[in-house]
Amino acid sequence: MNFNFGTDIAGTTFPNPIFTASGCAGSGKELVHFFSLSDLGAIVTKSIMLKPRSGRATPRMAETPSGMLNSIGLQGPGIDLFLENDIPWLRDQGARIIVSIAGETVEDYAVLARKLRTVSGLSAIEVNISCPNVENRGQVFACNPETARDAIAAVRRNIGGELPIIAKLSPDVTDITAIAQSVVEAGADSLALINTLLGMVIDTNTLSPKLSQRTGGLSGPAIRPIAVRAIYQVRAALPTIPIVGMGGVANGRDAFELVLAGANAISVGTATFGNPMAAITIKNELEELCIARGFNSFVEAVSYAHRTESK
């Protein structure tokens, strides 16, 4: 078959557009039990912070209709151990690696970028700015065009020339295109849409919030219509920016929907919890669908739902 499934994110080429979503595949160590990591377009690692993090107290999750809440709190070993242990291992697997970073201050993002600058074998860096900014009353970086810009600018200044920066945005904003515009101006090469939505579940037995942190991030098929809308809006506002789409993709049809809306690649998150093989199944189904609908290459399908407007 002649179908070209490859995709390009800010100059880096991936053999197929299906990635893992940050925080939904760990560092890939468990998933190799089910498939070869090199079969996916890329592995996006769990957002890593400067120092080791215990994360939040449990309960950290609650199932919701067609979705779930989580408040993991970015548990992880910190950047140094991560670079020592996980990156070499991922390289050995032949995986294309996108490192996701998260900070509590603008300076955190700068330091993380400097640490990554010299690491070889990375395909891109995803900047998770859906984190509370401890210098600004805990307001989430991604919820304000200025703080979002500051975090991305700090990464841009420190990362060096090569590595594409993917800014990951939160949907919990009045106008996501304004945030998108702002981070692109600050030097983001690509956007990841969308992170989870802030939600809450109350346990009607204990009569208290179910999660230890009260609120958590909503993911899964329930949020897919929000993801499609956000991707579509941002694509309309920024016609050429590469977008990594995510949010409730559970099968090839879902992935195709996000692609038509404007995603140049798709991250699979919550679906992996229900099915460890989800990303591989989605990859195969998406390829079949693109072919069935008459596309000669994946790239042709990207943003196709916008065609009527450009006519």
């Binding site: 925080g23 939904c24 595949a25 760990g26 160590k29 468990e30 998933l31 039990h33 089910f34 769990k46 120092k51 080791p52 993090r53 215990s54 994360g55 939040r56 107290a57 449990t58 309960p59 950290r60 999750m61 609650a62 199932e63 209709p65 067609s66 979705g67 779930m68 989580n70 993991i72 548990q75 992880g76 070993p77 910190g78 230890s212 899964g220 098929p221 559970a250 919550t270 679906a271 992996t272 919890f273 229900g274 099915n275 460890p276 093989m277």
Partner: protein, 282 residues
């Protein structure tokens, strides 16, 4: 790391019988049954093709066995409580469910014959009967305590009872056995049977109460914990507990891959569900 034997498959339901407040369910699996050890669990997708439930449900393996024809059987004890377990318990023989098994750690089997006490709460007794058989076959003395809120929630099938030297039952409401909790009868049993080792499975509060005793008396406590799990395979980090490692460092540890069977004496049980001081990365 994930259990190296883990396999994902569609398994046919062979039988589904109501026993007390539980459903005893038997699934046809292939050689996978060979890899299952007492303590391992299975993760099952629930709700069918248009399900609103996106997460698998974990169930302790009650029994796993191979048949002469080379097919394997996997048995579970399901308490139909919420949406997922009710759906599973309502499936009938002939239907198929997607499962991943075996997952998680197994109960450690002592190399020498010892006196073991097995403590189960509610459906927590499920993995203990296969464990009892294994221990028996290694020459151990096996005593068992099962507790529940009420008699109907004690799961103790006849064939299971055969492999234990003694069975003590406690219920909160006194409808069967001793009135009270399993932890009330433990100290006396530990002394009476000169217990070297406690295995337990049940609600977290019970495991915590048992640990208070085993830490005091200074005996080993292998417990199977039950923390809410989103993925069951180690990728999501929802299922953690603060556990002290061999290096003395307390880490938020995944109970789906480094558990469910853990050294109870090393778990920092905390009712408040805080991150205890001293946890790595706090």
């Amino acid at each position: 790391m994930i259990n190296s034997k883990a396999v994902q498959m569609d398994a046919e339901i062979i039988s589904n019988k109501r026993i007390g407040t539980y459903n005893h369910m038997v699934f046809s699996v292939d050689e996978m049954a060979n890899g299952c050890r007492p303590g391992n669990f299975v993760a099952i997708a629930v709700g069918g093709p248009a399900s609103s439930m996106v997460l698998r449900r974990a169930f302790a393996i009650y029994r796993a066995s191979m048949r002469a024809d080379g097919t394997g059987l996997l048995e579970l004890v399901v308490a139909p409580l919420g949406n997922g377990s009710k759906w599973l318990a309502s499936q009938v023989a002939g239907q198929k469910v997607n499962l991943i098994a075996p997952l998680g750690t197994a109960f450690g089997i002592p190399t020498q014959p010892v006196n073991a006490l097995l403590v189960g709460g509610g459906y927590g007794s499920a993995p203990l009967f296969a464990l009892a058989e294994t221990l028996k076959s290694r020459g151990c003395r096996v005593d068992m305590v099962l507790g529940a809120s009420t008699a109907g929630k004690i799961y103790a099938p006849l064939e299971g009872k055969r492999s234990v030297n003694s069975l003590t039952i406690t219920t909160d409401d006194g409808s069967a056995g001793t009135t009270g909790r399993v932890s009330d009868v433990l100290p006396a049993l530990i002394q009476e049977h000169e217990i070297d080792l406690i295995y337990s499975c049940g609600p977290m509060a019970m495991l915590e109460a048992i640990t208070a005793i085993t830490q005091q008396v200074g005996i080993v406590h292998q417990c199977s914990v039950e923390e809410a799990m989103a993925c069951g395979i180690g990728v999501c980090m929802t299922c953690v507990l603060p556990v002290e490692g061999d290096d003395g460092v307390i880490r938020m540890t995944r109970t789906c891959v480094d558990g469910p069977v853990m050294n109870g004496n090393k778990v920092l049980w905390s009712k408040s569900r805080d991150i205890p001081d001293g946890v790595w990365g706090k």
